[in-house]
Subunit: 593 residues, 2 copies
Amino acid sequence: MQVYKTPIREYRFLLEDFLKLNSSKVLTDRSLEIDDLLMIIEEASKMCEETLLPLNATGDSEGCVFEDGKVIAPKGFKEAYKVFSENGWQGIKVKEKYGGQELPYIMNMFLDEMVSSTNMSFGLYPGLTANAIDAIEKSATDELKQLYLPHLSSGKWTGTMNLTEPQCGTDLGLSKTMATPNDDGSYNITGTKIFITCGEHDLSENVVHLVLARTPNAPEGIKGISLFLVPKILPHKDGTLDSPNNVKCGSIEKKMGIKASPTCVMHYEDAKGWLVGDLNKGMKAMFIMMNGARLFVGIQGIGLSETAFQSSLHYAKERVQGKLPESENIADPIIVHPEIRKNLMFMKSMNDGIRGLMLKAGYAFDLIDSDQSKELTESSENLIALLTPILKSFATDKSMEITNQALQIYGGHGYITDHGMEQLVRDARITPIYEGTNGIQALDLIGRKFNIHDGLIINQYLDDINRYIDKHKDNSKMEKYIKLFEPSYNDLRDCIDFIKRTETTNSQEINSHAVDFLNIFALVAVGFTWLEFIVISLNKIENKDDDFYFSKIQLGDFYLTKVIFETQKFKNNIYSSGKLYNEFEDKFFEAGI
Amino acid sequence: MQVYKTPIREYRFLLEDFLKLNSSKVLTDRSLEIDDLLMIIEEASKMCEETLLPLNATGDSEGCVFEDGKVIAPKGFKEAYKVFSENGWQGIKVKEKYGGQELPYIMNMFLDEMVSSTNMSFGLYPGLTANAIDAIEKSATDELKQLYLPHLSSGKWTGTMNLTEPQCGTDLGLSKTMATPNDDGSYNITGTKIFITCGEHDLSENVVHLVLARTPNAPEGIKGISLFLVPKILPHKDGTLDSPNNVKCGSIEKKMGIKASPTCVMHYEDAKGWLVGDLNKGMKAMFIMMNGARLFVGIQGIGLSETAFQSSLHYAKERVQGKLPESENIADPIIVHPEIRKNLMFMKSMNDGIRGLMLKAGYAFDLIDSDQSKELTESSENLIALLTPILKSFATDKSMEITNQALQIYGGHGYITDHGMEQLVRDARITPIYEGTNGIQALDLIGRKFNIHDGLIINQYLDDINRYIDKHKDNSKMEKYIKLFEPSYNDLRDCIDFIKRTETTNSQEINSHAVDFLNIFALVAVGFTWLEFIVISLNKIENKDDDFYFSKIQLGDFYLTKVIFETQKFKNNIYSSGKLYNEFEDKFFEAGI
């Protein structure tokens, strides 16, 4: 079994020292203090460690069973889901008026991380429901909200997102599912959707599908797509269940990982549905909730990486093999070997840094919600827009790297199923794909985000960094770390200028740089987070909890010395242009075969 | 199903242009020409594409079945193995006097690659047999050779290597299996071995185990280990089968991939065995065949990478999604998108370059075997010693990267089982682990290989590169490529000097650089291979097969512009020392939890 304890000391650091939450309107408006948040985290932690973690391996080996259109989740999942929903976790950030707890957004992030660390497959059931709640809350009519949100927020019903079709994945404009209007304002939905996470299962009494479809005579492509709410069982107006809708699960996929979560083919045949948001504005309704959904995937990456780190740390201290020259043991624990230590330190410096950056993005949601100045709201929106593609991609790419490093530390014992390491690798492998592949995230950053208001959201972030460096550059203890940071920061700025100088009509060339640019930005943004951690920790190391802050400084030193340097590689790729592959003839790929 | 055609044009290029084999004693001694080799390759290719490839997915989904100590291979494997062995493929490089075909070593490499491309799990049965043949041929008594080699070389019997025990993986000195001498010169072997590939199965009538064990009063640790031959069924002196030995398969592992190949727990209880090689020199006997075994794992990496490349190329040309601004299609094949092209070109430039380097190492075996000058024999031995850890590590690390890139090109369709991409990723994941983890390979390079004869084997390789650059630096067409190569080559030389300056007593610091050093060396060695390919191709582009050579030049340009540059990152890691992680306190890893 995987080894995991909630990193509560780390969470406290982020709440107290990093976000400095005690003086924040986000808490005072709710009459909450950090200790209250930590108590709630402890509660969630217990559920995750005691209920979800033991079901992670069994859920993977049993998988979901499909029988006559029904899906049966692995043993124990139904009971675990009961615990999860009855304790109100589904509604953690939902407004009180819909039965939610209306806690800060960042609390939802901690919960999602703990759940992903202990049972990512389980987390997809409530995770997709949370996405559906978001979409309904932000775009549906009051009538739909009143009818659906309380049951979704209590976890009595679950939700799904239906985008993909066999011929249409990334390119949603190719969607063929049709929605024909009825006289009563509802629509009849017909079509087949694939890759529908938790599209059918036995954990909740109803499933609420959000489905992208095209109305008759709608414009072609992406501009003719609308969003519809289609329940598995049609409810009465009082929320009790009426009769089944014409929605059927045709099959579930056999797949690499997340096996305890069913990935469904869904058939809609004149299924009754209701419009969510405006006609032909389905993509807008989707995009409003997309930032949260994408950050959720990034958090899954962090969650898996944390468990990979803790498990391989545990193994490295326990497994004896080989010895140091000066040792008197027959063999030493493998944590003494440099390569093992290097990988463990890489994992921890990545996890802590990415989590810090993730919390910054999450806290921006809370600042927007807490009704502060127009300026703060706008800058928070900009930060979310910028960091979402970066965090989704980088956290998930690193989760692949880190789960694989953990497996490698276990050696052959990681390749067999017993320790759960190979499951982490398999589960992690979906995260760079779903909710928009990481390639698409990179195009979003270099295309849309780069150009919004003539580069405003990027400039705002760079200004933050500049101000921070100006503020701390005279601090003699910080000099070393700022010097380590600056070459990579300059790489980022050079690449921004380089891309600006590229003709905007040359989209092939600009798009060639997308992934490299995202990686540079991510390395620098996580590096900036480490600068912030180091400043905090330097101020703290006189206090009693010195180990924690000492470790932070050394981890930051490691990141800024060993990791961030990779920006050079990505800069080289950008500067050497995409011509080499864009102009390589297609038939040349076959040469040799 | 995966998509694969044997890259025969590429193989011809390697035989004709790269190794320039037609004038080689290796062929003339055997009265062979390149066309003969290509005909044999075509035969092997047919078997792989028609017999092995269709069993790859079914073998993975069925896996092996363990019942009452017996292992049943997946459907069709027994029949495929019959085809394989009856056509003499097991004996491809075995001496004629033992019933083999005694073809050049490189022919065995091509065969291993084709088999690994089409069915890596299947390839492990004959692959381990080949290792056992090697060990027996090089270290056993004539009596053992006469009795065992003909049946192994015909494939009638298969072989295994028994090293690992529960408490002993990398560190074989911890082995506890005991061998007690009998009066007749045989030994009684008792102990438990784990992770034994193809330790028990129904493909052959007998299994010949090579087992590391300790004799009574042997020196402690690695110096007290001997190698024993222990057959599953004891043969009469004429090679017919007598009675079962006391060897039992206790169970098989559930594991991430290579599911059609059983990974066995083997129990020996006073099983009868015979010494192979000298007493207490088991490690020496193992190491003599280790180069070949390690290169075989590297070839598995190349094989998987080739199939990953070809499959994702096929999909990229077929799948339409998104479109170029100037396109009149509703959507274009995804191969038009820069990120897809970049990844495909990365895969191909890696595969072709690594395969070329691999062939160089393989050809060195042939030069040694063909009884040439002492100087050529020694330089060939040095080349093998140098390239083995590099190729084993780099080819397998890249196979993880490339199979994952291929999966990513398929998107969600790569994550489900249908196209076989996720199987490639799972199968590839064992290659950086077995036959010595890649971390161990790196220690072998920076420890043993670095210091042999005061750096002779490294200097010899650098001299080859220097001579080559000198020879071609005045060729105006080569200037550009040599300029691209030189910074990374200088990184390698700088790092060699840097490591030489490190106190040899500071093994922690030297070992810290092992993996980075190996990576720099590999990037440069593959880069050197590309220089050689480019020189050849520049001389050829007047001929009719221009597409092939044009593509080679552009692929080389890509590698030298985009890929080799990563040496900078590894150099930075080496120059910034291992202190940051070696001196990080163990308890600091727990800070935060």
